[in-house]
């Protein structure tokens, strides 16, 4: 059974007082297998948010269906297995971190000692134990995203839907969130992710789907989609100039072409993190 099964999904929004309509999603079909991290990508207005909302039962489809672990999204029951982190959420600012998790736990049916235990566990997991008694109004963006992840996980769902989980978060926080997502994957949780930050998506997703004007234009395993078929990358360490010269000679004989030769770079992100964490130590 797929974690998410979208069949021929179409969503049409009528414009009030006008005859035209906006087609947000057009005949979309895709499957997300359990345990995958699936990236749903696309420019603004491509229908990503609408698709997510339909999967979560917040919006109804005009045609087609969406199912979560076999249950129709329109049924309230289907949401027993899902945790959702919306884009730029504010949560209830008057609550402390702990109170917020208690609240979400209660509406998922948890209570008593079990709820307290789970809350403690999640606060630990997302690294917010020190801020448990602080009101959410005093949380930074990164902290809000993390508490958001925690509430999404409160009822131990098998599926997580994350809308722009790292948007507006600093590199360190962003790194932590990505590491968390990879952890979830290891635990077997399915993740549906929407993001504009393509480099981050590239790091964690197994499969991606690209939406454009409501249509799924490309879909498949990430490594298959972006690998340039007829090119190979070899990274050498400790190669002397003589070795390099011999490699060049061998290649020119074989008919392969050297497209580029340069010193590999670390990413700016890794560099930034190294610098900021070492300056923290000092």
């Amino acid at each position: 059974m797929s974690a998410i099964s979208i069949q021929n999904l179409t969503k049409v929004f009528p414009i009030p007082f006008r005859r035209e309509r906006i087609v947000a999603v057009r005949n979309l079909s895709l499957e997300v297998e359990p345990g995958q991290v699936y990236g749903l990508l696309g420019p603004n207005g491509s229908g990503k948010s609408t698709t997510m909302k339909i999967v979560l039962g917040l919006v109804s489809p005009s045609a087609g269906s969406t199912r979560i672990f076999g249950r129709d999204s329109k049924e309230v029951e289907s949401r027993e297995e899902v945790g959702f982190l919306p884009e730029n959420p504010y949560f209830y600012k008057f609550l402390t971190g702990e109170e917020a998790l208690h609240f979400y736990g209660k509406i998922c049916g948890l209570h008593g000692a079990k709820l307290r235990e789970r809350t403690g566990e999640l606060l630990n997991l997302v690294g917010l134990k020190h801020a448990r008694d602080r009101r959410l109004a005093g949380y930074s963006k990164g902290m809000l995203q993390r508490i958001g992840l925690a509430q999404a996980l409160i009822q131990q769902p098998r599926l997580l839907v994350l809308d722009e989980p790292t948007a507006g978060v600093d590199p360190a926080g962003s790194r932590e969130i990505r590491d968390l997502i990879l952890d979830f994957k290891k635990q077997g949780i399915t993740v549906l992710l929407c993001s504009h930050l393509l480099s981050q998506v590239q790091e964690i997703c197994d499969r991606i789907g690209i939406l454009h004007k409501g249509v799924l234009v490309r879909e498949g395993r990430l490594d298959e989609l972006i690998s340039i078929e007829n090119q190979t990358e070899i990274i050498l360490e400790g190669a002397s100039p003589e070795v390099l010269a011999r490699i060049h000679a061998m290649l020119s004989e074989s008919g392969a072409r050297v497209l580029a030769e340069r010193k590999p770079q670390t990413t700016l992100e890794r560099f930034f993190l190294e610098v900021t964490s070492s300056s923290k130590k000092n």
Binding site: K53, V76, Q155
Partner: protein, 308 residues
């Protein structure tokens, strides 16, 4: 072709029996959360103003006789209670849904297995709890102020009545006591609460389709005035035969759609010294309760299929 990743461990699926169709616990969680939100918004400072009004109004009334003093104290306090609970019900409710939508917290709640009707009931219940607490606190303050005045008047009367036979003095004191706190004030205050509850439900309904909080508040306030004129509209519509078809349709709509709020002004007459027949009180309270439920129902109809 790169090797496929190792199979991931599967998590236990949720048993189908875990989902509960109707959960009072979920509703209660939302209700207490709403109450906490309103409480931490310092909306309760309304009560402080009420207390000040009470005390202030007692102070300037010394030159009236005791009957006038008690009447003014009761009228002002109950009038203040009436308007504050009504204001509280409208303002507190009007911001609930728009705030949740704007802050996107609504999505986080409805993305959990919470049916939309439970969400609405929970929100309304939270406001009703706030109104109940406010009414109780204000009533307590009112009773204390009334009792304080009564004691002062009694002390004064005893002091200036030396030489009066005890039986007569007792009658005078009995007269004083009977014009302060009478138990019939309790149903009057209860109806003030019922009226506020009705407005909370009505405001919730308006907020399901209104475009902004301000709009909700304005429409709700308009309903307040129209509701007080509904009785007159109804009488004109059902009685007079001389109005044209268009005014008749308008009057009919007013009579059908709006509640007759004059029915909920029982406290005015109680203060005048009349006691309410319990049956009348029960019927009025039941009607108010019915209105509250109907407005909640139409709020659900409007909200259930709303695109978020």
């Amino acid at each position: 072709m790169p090797a496929s990743p190792p199979p991931t461990p599967a998590i236990e699926p949720t048993p189908a029996s875990r989902h509960v169709f109707f959960s009072p616990a979920r509703i209660w969680a939302i209700a207490t959360n709403t109450l906490l939100e309103l409480f931490r918004l310092k909306v309760f400072y309304f009560l402080l103003i009420f207390a000040l009004v009470l005390i202030g109004s007692s102070a300037f009334m010394i030159e009236f006789n005791f009957q006038e003093q008690f009447q003014l104290l009761k009228d002002v306090s109950l009038g203040a209670m009436s308007i504050f609970t009504w204001l509280l019900s409208v303002l507190a409710t009007a911001m609930l849904l728009p705030k949740d939508i704007e802050d996107r917290t609504l999505y986080t709640i409805l993305a959990k297995p919470v049916p939309r009707f439970e969400y609405l009931i929970g929100k309304l219940l939270g406001v009703l709890l706030l109104l109940l607490i406010s009414t109780l606190v204000m009533s307590a303050l009112f009773v204390i102020a009334l009792w304080g005045r009564e004691q002062m008047v009694i002390a004064d009367t005893i002091r200036t009545s030396t030489g009066t036979p005890p039986a007569q003095l007792e009658e005078v004191l009995r007269g004083i006591r009977s014009s302060t706190f009478t138990f019939s004030l309790i149903p009057g205050i209860a109806i003030i609460y019922v009226k506020a509850a009705l407005f909370a439900s009505l405001t919730l309904f308006i907020s399901t389709f209104a475009s902004s909080t301000i709009f909700t508040i304005m429409v709700s306030m308009a309903c307040y005035f129209i509701g007080h004129l509904q009785g007159i509209a109804r009488d004109y519509w059902l009685g007079s035969a001389t109005t044209g078809p268009l005014p008749r349709i308008f009057l009919a709509l007013v009579a059908l759609v709006f509640p007759d709020l004059q029915l909920f002004n029982l406290v005015d007459d109680i203060v005048a010294g009349n006691s309410i027949p319990m049956v009348l009180f029960a019927k009025t309270a039941a009607l108010g309760g019915l209105y509250t439920c109907i407005y909640l129902l139409v709020a659900y109809f409007a909200f259930a299929s709303k695109e978020l």
